[in-house]
Subunit: 172 residues, 2 copies
């Protein structure tokens, strides 16, 4: 596949959109739309008793509240681990004594290059949450059993959160 | 959160991008960028012997091959089940005798309203794959054990595929 022409059609705060004209192996010429994303992290915080810490927040793009693990976008110059440490503290007030990579993956490889690193955070020390000025976040502590029920009954509708819980359940 | 102004900054073949000016509960005014997506499906095809059918294809937006479950974007007027049936046939040549919903979720709720329905497809009848003119797809049949190893060793780097395998493992 060969790129014949590339055009940046939008450049925003976090996202930019490129519209490319590409030539396929068959010779056919077609369009590929691509969202360029700086990458992101998700963090599954596990308390000493095995309970999990979720956050509930209003997600503007879907127009409703969503129950999720803490997560965020990687800032320039940040490593995934640094981003995970920062986002966990900002959203929950917890500092992670230990981060273990659960998995890493593309979230929507059909149209976005967003790559996400998923961590398990343990040895947690509680402090004060420092949400960004435009975040309003409620903390929810749930047991693993409750989390699995929430996946089954549709109470969790966020793929990184489903994935984190299932990876933790199967891989520990 | 109140929308003060909404501006469509890009309208493409599959995606459109809206840039909204919103007023937060605190009174602060900020920007929200939103990708509008028609929704999508992923299908985990399970053969009678328990083996899984994956597809390997070049993903332009990430610049490399990716091993995934069959998947696709919902077309206008299509139900998720109809889309799953069509995409499975197009990409693998298999017709599903039975579709069961494994889960449904947002893929990137920070910036996209894409909602995905994940199905398990069984009672499969093989036929001829009919990929779209701009798709070049290779079929890979793997055992559940191999699939779990591919998650662990990074051979699968696609969140819907990881999620589908783990849901199938834990929920059957």
């Amino acid at each position: 596949m060969q790129t014949l022409k590339t055009e940046q059609v939008y450049r925003g705060r976090v996202l930019s959109i490129t519209k490319d004209t590409v030539s396929l192996p068959s010779g056919r010429v077609t369009i590929r739309e691509k969202v360029t994303h700086p990458g992101s992290v998700g963090i599954l915080p596990v308390l000493e008793n095995g309970d999990l810490i979720f956050v509930k927040q209003f997600r503007y793009v879907i127009g409703s509240d969503l129950l999720e693990i803490p997560a965020g976008t990687i800032e320039e110059g940040e490593s995934p681990e640094e981003c995970a440490t920062r986002e966990l503290l900002e959203e929950t007030g917890y500092q992670a004594g230990r981060l273990d990579l659960l998995s890493s993956f593309y979230t929507s490889p059909g149209y976005s290059n967003e790559f996400m690193w998923l961590f398990k955070a343990t040895d947690l020390r509680s402090g004060e949450a420092k949400p960004m000025a435009d975040e309003s976040i409620e903390i929810k502590v749930v047991s693993l059993g409750e989390a699995l029920s929430l996946i089954k009954n549709g109470g969790i509708r966020d793929v990184k959160t489903i994935c984190a819980i299932l990876l933790y359940t199967t891989a520990g």
